[in-house]
């Protein structure tokens, strides 16, 4: 775990992530400027750090209603604006990027932040960026596997010799600068069915699992499959950290949290996925057995501890800004996390 900068004695890490979505506030119909949105994301990282939150990450989405396509640039600004919070991508779409450039960027962010940067590499849940960036969707799987492998190789070897299908070969290539500790924690982003988790396990790399909704037990299946695949392939599963990522919103009472957040999640899903969030499913989300972390601080503490008991994961990251949630509400969420949720979670999970 040390290699991935995880200290389990301190308990479950708590993080915040943003996909950088840029959606009109459904209550007012108004959308803030891209400039304001980016500044608010940087500000969110700062107040998260002040509240004692461990981790902050930003993702790239190359489609309408998003604004952090150049997520590494935003992360560099966050690196400069903060002092101790861990920072990462969530995720970097490695399939449509050059791993050399990605590594250069994140090694630099690591140096700016004095050793706080990590990469979470994913394969994109939406595919518009393949056309935009000049890749063929037919290579979806193989682009990811090949580029992810190269990224890991650059992380492990100072002088890289490599050849593959989708990039010119590297001969004795020195990818510099090197990160502060010589390497970066690199995670594999996993969503959907257990097959993807099994691949991460086989590769013996840390897993970031998206848990967007549904029963906790269905995600436990992916986690168990990941550990089993790692063991089968000769990796020590105890040394491989697991993180989960999911939707989050808290307010004084669970009812208030649901009432405040529903318009955002519903409208946000409509414009980015083409379907609203069914009310019944959202209502069910309050149940402790459902993975959706929406409710009163007490309810969320209970949920996160239950998830921790089931998953045995090392980090949970919360997406609270989806759907055009205004900044004063985000501030309130951070405040409740810092004063109520975080202390309880640390108390119960620290060793």
């Amino acid at each position: 775990m040390e290699k991935y900068r995880i200290d389990q004695r301190k308990g479950l890490e708590f993080g915040i992530y943003s996909l950088g979505d840029h959606i009109p506030d459904p209550n007012t119909g108004k959308r803030i400027s891209a400039e304001q949105r980016i500044h608010e994301i940087i500000e969110l990282a700062k107040i998260a750090e002040q509240a004692g939150i461990d981790f902050f990450s930003v993702g790239e989405s190359h489609q309408e209603y998003f604004t952090t396509q150049a997520h590494s640039v935003v992360l560099a600004a966050i690196a400069q604006a903060t002092e101790k919070i861990k920072i990462a991508s969530s995720s970097t779409i490695i399939s449509t990027s050059d791993p050399v450039r990605v590594y250069e960027d994140f090694a630099t962010i690591d140096l700016i932040s004095k050793g706080r940067a990590e990469i979470i590499a994913g394969r994109a849940s939406r595919v518009g960026l393949f056309d935009l960036l000049g890749y063929n969707l037919k290579d979806y799987e193989e682009l990811y596997e090949e580029k992810f492998e190269l990224l890991l190789k650059i992380n492990e070897e100072e002088s890289v010799n490599w050849s593959g299908q989708f990039r010119a070969p590297l001969k004795d290539a020195n990818v510099i600068p090197r990160p502060k500790a010589g390497y970066l924690p690199i995670w594999r982003a996993v969503g959907g069915p257990p097959a993807s988790a099994i691949k991460a396990g086989y590769a013996g790399v840390p897993m970031f699992l998206a848990t967007l909704g549904g029963p906790v037990t269905s995600f436990k299946y992916s986690i168990d499959a990941y550990r089993e695949a790692a063991r089968q392939n000769g990796h020590n599963a105890k040394e491989l950290p697991i993180a989960t990522a999911g939707l989050f919103y808290t307010a004084e009472t669970t009812q208030q949290a649901q009432k405040e957040y529903y318009p955002y999640i519903n409208e946000g899903m409509k414009v980015t996925n083409g379907r609203g969030y069914p009310k019944q499913q959202f209502a069910q989300g309050a149940d402790p057995r459902d993975v959706l972390n929406i409710g009163s601080p007490q309810q969320i503490i209970e949920k996160i501890l239950y998830q921790h008991e089931q998953f045995g994961h090392q980090r949970y990251i919360a997406q609270m800004d989806f759907g055009g949630v205004p900044f004063d509400k985000l501030r309130k969420n951070i405040e409740l996390i810092g004063t109520e949720i975080l202390p309880a979670i640390k108390k119960h999970t620290a060793k």
């Binding site: 489609q63 939406r126 595919v127 518009g128 969707l137 957040y261 083409g274 379907r275 069914p278 959202f282």
Partner: protein, 188 residues
């Protein structure tokens, strides 16, 4: 309330003829309903490649989006090689897994042989159920002999189309009322 009628083949006339009768019945009896006809023969639709439906372009996006916006769908399908045609299956493949959640779906089938009667039951209904549709269980089965030169000549079929339309609207109204009453309890 928006109801979309789909004529599920890119060839032939019988399914389209039957859907025309259905839409005419719908418009005459329920003038407040917004009705859209999608005859798949009129559009150039690409094969599904798994992307989100919003990311398709042109006719493909139009057809997918029109179906996603519907409250109810009346699907007309012929039977090809003892199954639904590829054009219709492709429409399902273009949509998200639970695309038909909270949508009422009813069916009419045209076929060259009475031996095809159970195909909708055994092949179409499971797809619709998987996609979470609220199904009108009884469908209208129409044989080749019921048509003559783009008209339905069997009055019994017209009677049953009339019932299919009524069942679709009644189930939609009932289901919507129940769902809305339940949702009102949630308080958000």
């Amino acid at each position: 309330m928006k109801i979309v009628g789909i004529s599920g083949s890119n060839v032939g006339s019988k399914t389209r003829t039957a859907i025309n009768y259905t839409i005419k019945d719908l418009v005459e009896n329920y003038p407040d309903v917004e009705v859209v006809l999608l005859d798949l023969a009129d559009y150039t639709i690409q094969f599904s490649d798994g992307r989100n439906y919003l990311e398709y372009e042109g006719d493909t996006k139009y057809v997918a989006q029109t179906i996603m916006e519907a409250d109810a769908i009346i699907i007309g399908t012929p039977i090809f090689q003892a199954s639904i045609p590829a054009t219709l299956k492709n429409i399902f493949d273009l949509l998200p897994v639970d695309a038909l959640r909270d949508k009422v779906v009813s069916m009419l089938v045209t076929a060259g042989s009475p031996k095809h009667y159970l195909i909708a039951e055994q092949q179409l209904k499971p797809i619709l159920s998987y996609m979470k549709a609220v199904l009108v269980q009884t469908y209208v089965f129409i044989e080749e002999k019921d048509f003559y030169r783009n008209e339905i000549i069997n009055d019994d079929i017209l009677f049953r189309i009339n019932l299919l339309v009524e069942d679709t609207v009644v189930l939609l109204e009932t289901y919507t009322k129940i769902r809305e009453a339940k949702e009102a309890e949630y308080g958000f």
